[in-house]
Symmetry: C2
Subunit: 376 residues, 2 copies
């Protein structure tokens, strides 16, 4: 049996592996980026138009593409509906862009740390990494130009960091100067608890090619698996053909449901954001009461995560910590998997605050504090 | 801007391009493998469990995997539910298997002609082709062993051919002897109008690795984008990780809808098959009245297509024929795109009979006959 060489670089997603244990009864999960079930829309008495059950267009439903184009204009990104490609979740956008740009040895600039399932796909296709810090994107100019720059500028996963206006312009200018394709991943932007700059970096691009993508998973419902990308016109034909080849087109029932929910987008978002803001504040509170002696962090202005760095004297192997905390029914994401070069990664934890109840936060964080305190 | 080398091998799917014109008013389409809208299930008063809107398992919903495993046992293929991977349509299975097995220069044995969107994906990843005829699979033994053998043994697309028992065993034995991975694509097997052998080729495999996939698009609803694969145990971890990386998991609402429809599978299939059998017979009738002087074909025992080969004296460029027939509001699939080596392809047409009404068949086939007769 002969497999493709890339399979030697294939790894399971650590987060998907943890998701498979968090359904166990009694488990307190800070692991996934799971929206709170309370935030899901009510879907009742649904009549499905038979026409929706037929094959549909690869690019997505016309009305949804128009709605997305018009919503993006309000964010400062002006594209025609013909530049919108509906996706089966934004993970698919990562797969399509990787196919478009990455082969063995392709240089990809990524924030360090960054979204682990993006690293999973980029590595599968053979990427080499050029890590950078959001505050120092200009340092990329001193290196070999990367083919692709992958960024999550707004409430970054895992750090929660939000780029300033100057940092956004600086990153766009690096892409322009080096002729790199800028790939902006923006699933969290609507989950904002303190106002801050959220104009897409792609809106500042002047010459280079770019792809911007977002998701309906965090604000509507992940189980519907729907997201979208928009891109510079030069990339659209290839990306839409790659989409055809990947799954012909996205689920039409999901597209219809999301379109109807987008009509009440603002009311819906206001409620979700208010509830998550409360949860963030409660989590921050409990963190201060439990983990402050052992870790450093900043409260995030948006998104779904706290990113904790262990203080020097409490540094430990967070993978081992996870094994022990799972035995006490507490799940979280060890930081290592988020680093393009995990060997030199600092000792970090990513904690999701949207899924657990306030009582669970209390219990779960106390368990973590005790395990870290005893170095056990 | 630097794209991956594979993008030079990327092409749009000819069928998706035609699908974009067949929605025009008045168009008679024999082009796609579109199920008849009459065959779609009624979905009314649907209540969606909020739990279904959360992220789900990459492998698919447990109850659906169990149902698929039990249905496959009735087909002669015995696998545990843990060997089932739910897909976002079976096109996705082609993408995953290509990632698993194909890189530049990988030798893939394919029937000639075969499903064009499989060729699209295999070519993107850099496959070289070893074409074979269903009746002569043993000829593959005289060649360099292919890494992958792709086959549609039951109501093949585009030819409609159904392998005999001996031919199924012969192909399985080729895979076993050469250590090739057998990839069986089986979307049409339930659309059977004359009983014939339909045991999966994979059921005859003794040693080699294999992947078997099927779809709910042809018997339930393509718009829900749901299919599945099962495979030999050695391949399952890699394929499930590739699935994670491609779209995390498949739509949970679709999975729930399909599972509930599978409970009434037999009644539903009986009605669909009866209606398609009538359509096949009507189409065969009209073909005999219109195209018999110009083409050869066999009535298919199942599936959705008639495959016509133009008689020598009427040979013409079917791409040009399509341009002309579209002007008269008739769409079909030229045969060329189905051949791994299109240059030497004979002059063929694939005609779908499930979508058009009987009156449309009459009109559409007369248009084609006239265009072919005048060589125009």
């Amino acid at each position: 049996m002969q497999l493709a060489d890339r399979i030697a670089r294939l790894s399971p997603s650590p987060i998907r592996q943890i998701l498979s244990v968090i359904d166990q009864p009694g488990m307190i999960s800070f692991a996934g980026g799971l929206p709170s079930a309370d935030s899901f829309p009510q879907i009742d008495n649904l009549h499905v138009e038979p026409a929706l059950l037929q094959y549909g267009p690869s690019e997505g439903e016309k009305a949804l593409r128009e709605q997305i184009s018009s919503d993006l204009a309000k964010r400062g990104l002006h594209v025609s509906p013909e530049q919108v490609l509906v996706l089966s979740g934004s993970q698919q956008g990562i797969d399509l862009v990787a196919k478009l740009t990455i082969e063995k040895g392709t240089l990809v600039a990524v924030e360090s740390p960054t979204y682990l399932a993006a690293l999973q796909v980029f590595s599968l296709f053979g990427a080499g990494y050029l890590p950078f810090q959001p505050r120092e994107a200009h340092a990329l100019l001193h290196n070999t130009p990367p083919s692709l720059i992958y960024t999550i500028p707004t409430f970054q996963n895992p750090t929660g960091y939000c780029y300033t206006t100057a940092e956004r312009k600086s990153l766009a200018s690096v892409a322009d100067k080096q002729g790199s394709i800028l790939f902006e991943d923006d699933p969290y932007r609507d989950l904002v608890y303190n106002e801050c700059e959220r104009t897409p970096v792609c809106a500042f691009i002047e010459r280079s090619s770019w792809v911007y993508q977002s998701s309906f998973s965090k604000t509507f419902a992940p189980g519907l698996r729907l997201g979208y990308l928009v891109c510079s016109e030069d990339l659209y034909p290839s990306l839409s053909w790659l989409k055809q080849a990947a799954d012909l087109h996205s689920n039409r029932l999901s597209q219809s449901l999301v379109l109807s929910m987008l009509k009440h987008r603002d009311e819906r978002l206001a409620a979700v954001v208010a509830s998550y803001r409360e949860k963030r504040d409660a989590f921050s509170n409990r963190l201060n009461q439990t983990l402050a002696p052992y870790c450093d962090w900043s409260d995030p202005d948006g998104g779904l995560f706290f990113w904790l760095t262990l203080k020097d004297q409490y540094t430990l192997d967070t993978q081992l910590l996870l094994q022990k905390s799972l035995q006490q029914n507490v799940a979280f994401m060890p930081g290592t998997a988020f680093f393009p070069s995990p060997i030199a990664a600092p000792s970090c934890l990513r904690l999701n605050f949207s899924h657990a109840s306030v009582a669970e936060m209390e219990t779960g964080l106390s368990v973590l504090a005790e395990l870290i305190a005893t170095g056990d």
